[in-house]
């Protein structure tokens, strides 16, 4: 079946120019894609995963905020100052003992970058995308995550309209911790679903 026009992907003129430079320069060896990724991560302190960590930590300590996040994630997240020019909808999904959420989408534009920054290379890789859907538990194992058989894995495929933010479970032994302390336990992977939040011991 031929794809309908609204079904296929789209790059803005600017994105296409950046990709043209990136692909030509790396083919010729003038830049190294891994090094470029690393530079991005080093400098990307303003739109990095710490924004998402703030959202998560607040949801752990503030029941009203958590409720708002459940009902209208986009508005709750925007209230903390994290907005994107593209105006996409963000859906927060909450991990529990019963359900573990995992997010995929290999389009950069389908990553909740206002809260997580730029996607890591593995997130964009074809193997991750295809395997996350077919064999999510296998993918989680690769990331060192083993879930009890009784925990259901729910895979969310991002679109240009909806991006997902996983709210990991609050680690045990963090009662009475401040929002700031808790935010340090929230890793990028835990907000994609390929990890858990760090343990309380990790900070002490």
């Amino acid at each position: 079946m031929a794809p309908h026009s609204h079904d296929h992907s789209h790059l803005t003129e600017t994105e296409a120019r950046v990709r043209a430079l990136e692909s030509l320069l790396s083919e010729k060896g003038y830049i190294d894609s891994a090094a470029v990724d690393e530079i991005v991560q080093t400098y990307e302190t303003k739109i990095g995963p710490q924004n998402g960590a703030h959202v998560v930590a607040k949801s752990w300590v503030d029941a009203d905020f958590r409720k708002w996040l459940e009902e209208d994630s986009t508005a709750a997240i925007h209230s903390l100052g994290y907005t994107s020019r593209q105006g996409e909808h963000i859906d927060a999904v909450f991990n529990s003992d019963d359900t573990h959420h995992l997010v995929v989408c290999t389009l950069c534009s389908c990553y909740p970058w206002s809260v997580l920054g730029l996607p890591p290379t593995w997130y964009k890789s074809p193997p991750f995308r295809s395997r996350a859907v077919i064999d999510p538990r296998g993918v989680l194992n690769d990331f060192g995550i083993t879930l009890p058989e009784t925990t259901k894995v729910e895979v969310h495929d991002s679109t240009s309209e909806v991006r997902y933010l996983v709210i990991p479970q609050r680690p045990a032994g963090t009662e009475g911790w401040s929002e700031k302390q808790l935010a340090k336990l929230v890793t990028r992977n835990s907000m994609i679903g390929t990890g858990f939040a760090r343990t309380a011991e990790a900070l002490s």
């Binding site: 079904d7 789209h10 320069l25 003038y30 470029v36 389009l107 730029l118 074809p126």
Partner: protein, 113 residues
């Protein structure tokens, strides 16, 4: 990485000494210039001058649009690539996107018949 003299760049917006990006492509364009410089393609001073040239070109653009123009210009001036190759590759990426169902990774190979 912190040894880069960001202050030498005309017009850059910094917060806590770090550049402020408002879209992923901006960070990507930023990082490519840094990596080209690290790999010896041009000096940081040359880069600051190329960027300054764009900013003072009289064109009304966002800061990282200036950055991207400067990057394309210095890449062709240093013969790392040609304007024709860049234009062709850009068209290939558009074609690849059009041939890719939404949600699939856009791969350059999708543009090839």
């Amino acid at each position: 990485m912190t040894d880069l003299d960001l202050i030498a760049l005309p017009g850059i917006t910094l917060a806590d000494d770090e550049p402020v990006f408002t879209a992923p492509w901006e960070a990507q364009a930023f990082a490519m210039a840094v990596n080209l410089h690290q790999n010896g393609a041009f000096s940081w001073q040359e880069w600051a001058e190329a960027l300054s040239h764009e900013i003072h070109s009289g064109e009304e653009r966002d800061y990282y649009q200036h950055w991207l123009h400067a990057l394309e210009r210095i890449v062709t001036a240093k013969s790392l690539s040609s304007e024709a190759d860049l234009a062709q590759r850009k068209a290939d990426w558009h074609a690849a996107a059009a041939a890719t169902p939404h949600g699939d990774p856009i791969l350059l190979s999708a543009a090839k018949p």
